[in-house]
Symmetry: C2
């Protein structure tokens, strides 16, 4: 198409995990929470739906920033709300990179980090995790933006916040820690944002808060970073319903803790029961388990899908392939193992 930029012709885009409409499937492929969100979220959404939906929402989602500020112990100005954390990640690439700008990310990791620079039309370089799971010392070298999912997907492992701070302090560009799964982990980087302006943390309500349908994420960053993101984002990027729902969700930390507790217990069971079936698992600090074998696992993925059990098959070439199994309800995980025993 002569009217689009040339780099877009070759673009394939990010392919999200399947979202089948059938509800009788066991869906363990996109790391959603298998439990419902807090009833207070539903109430807040219903209130917002009946209250002036004909009016534009607050462009700065201040109600949410205030609630997040109290929960995480940061200034409200340090919290910028987005229509899902994907929006924040794309905006960070656009803010930092012209066509020559370089984005780095480790491998294996969330595939979106390489798709964002492809869409934007700038450069990308992958820098593999070391064998011990740490990032290489040159991870941020030459980069305008570096992305680290921490805990990482698909492995579920973490790099220590202290190490990430060290990398950010040595970086010329921004180091973005995507903490989509941090609610399931022992440590996180939010307390370290104050120590380095180039350290940016993104969070989502799609996983532990059970609100994938709401599209709400946020960034914790120093004010100089936040000011640029606020100037660049769509004026009304978050709608009135999601602001209300997200605010209620972040205020109900008890509901979060209970969901996380249940999911961690199920996760531990998955980790325990996979090795006897011939899988290696990486100890996970997330709501999924990365299961590998010496032989190819795509046939197992296909056989499970045929039986109505969806997990995620991911192939990182020389960096390995495996099945990423989201933590479902105990009943779903029971069914998963039943089918797996038939096909593995």
């Amino acid at each position: 198409m002569s009217y689009f930029q040339p780099h877009l012709d070759a673009l394939r885009g990010y392919v999200p995990g399947l979202q089948p409409k059938r509800t009788d499937l066991v869906k363990l492929n996109t790391n959603e929470c298998p439990y419902p969100p807090s009833p207070k979220v539903i109430e807040a959404i219903e209130r917002a739906a009946r209250n002036r939906l004909n009016r534009y929402p607050d462009p700065h989602a201040r109600e949410f920033s205030q609630a997040a500020s109290e929960t995480f112990g940061v200034d409200p100005e340090w919290v910028v709300a987005f229509n899902g954390s994907d929006e924040a990640l794309m905006l960070l690439v656009r803010a930092c990179c012209g066509s020559e700008g370089l984005v780095t990310a480790p491998t294996p990791t969330y595939l979106l980090y390489r798709v964002l620079p492809e869409i934007h039309g700038c450069r990308f370089s992958e820098r593999a995790y070391r064998a011990d799971g740490d990032l290489p010392d040159d991870f941020c070298d030459g980069a305008k933006v570096s992305f680290v999912a921490n805990p990482n997907s698909p492995t579920g492992h973490t790099v220590s916040p202290r190490r990430l701070l060290e990398l950010a302090k040595g970086a010329k560009g921004l180091l973005v820690i995507d903490e989509a799964y941090a609610d399931f982990a022992e440590e996180n980087c939010i307390p370290l944002v104050a120590d380095c302006e180039r350290l940016v943390v993104s969070r989502t309500l799609s996983k532990a808060y059970a609100l994938a349908g709401l599209r709400f994420g946020f960034v914790v960053c120093q004010p100089a970073v936040g000011a640029t993101l606020r100037k660049m984002k769509d004026s009304y990027n978050c709608d009135a319903l999601s602001i209300a729902g997200a605010t209620a969700a972040i205020r109900d930390q008890e509901w979060l803790r209970e969901n996380v507790r249940r999911m961690k217990a199920t996760r531990d069971r998955i980790q325990r029961d996979l090795p006897p079936l011939g899988f290696r698992v990486t100890p996970s600090q997330s709501n999924f388990v990365w299961a590998q074998r010496d032989e190819p696992v795509k046939p197992i993925y296909d056989a499970l899908a045929e039986r109505g059990v969806y997990v995620r098959f991911l192939d990182y070439g020389p960096h390995g392939q495996g099945l990423r199994i989201s933590v479902g309800t105990d009943a779903e995980v029971h069914r998963f193992f039943e089918e797996l025993r038939q096909v593995a």
Copy 2:
């Protein structure tokens, strides 16, 4: 900031109309619908809120595309849903423009069209409306993307769809017709999209559908254009609640017609009652009226705001300044005229 692109330092961003939290104000400044959305919209949102909000939404909002397809008589594939039409407009700039890409828009018009290339870091050129309200013949010359609000804001006037098709056919880039206010107009360009691949129409549910709080817009375009937009957009750009609400809204055309009928009647009254108070008005095909005087109108704007009546003051330098008055309820418009008589 050394880590952001240089053009962003000077960026001021788009400044939306004031969104005061007080509800005792008369708010005629951001062209919202003064009436509530269809009750079917609220019901659909409540249903969606109670139904699997822990799951990701349909990345392609097919339920909405199907409904819009039936309403507008186009193929569902021609309808791409966005988190507000702002998202669509920005994505079109990003799709078509590298740093040397040129965006054109007329003046006076919606200020966002010049802010989008500023944010993206490409070029912008304004091409004034002719004295008769038509666009100049060279409007699209050299441009990768040209934006026309039709009906236009702040003037409320329209360029004929036939003329716009002629310009699109002569263009090298895309001609984007922003039909945010087309529900209030006599004609629109959706039927012409089939005649020219470079003609793209954007719509919003923020105005006539009374859903500014929902953030939902869509584009009608040929499949080659839509395919690129779908590859570039965030996977889940629209949330489950807004997809459900927007689908219900587009299916309730009767509610839309009744709201539009009431707002047009009020608009006609505003247009009739302003000239005796010393204002020139442009005949409006939208839900606002552009009121001008020979002398500066900023003092009138300030005096009205002090009395709790917000309209929009817009100054286009040599292209004139004025007050853009959104159509409110009859009671709001009554109050507006009461205060205006005190200060004008």
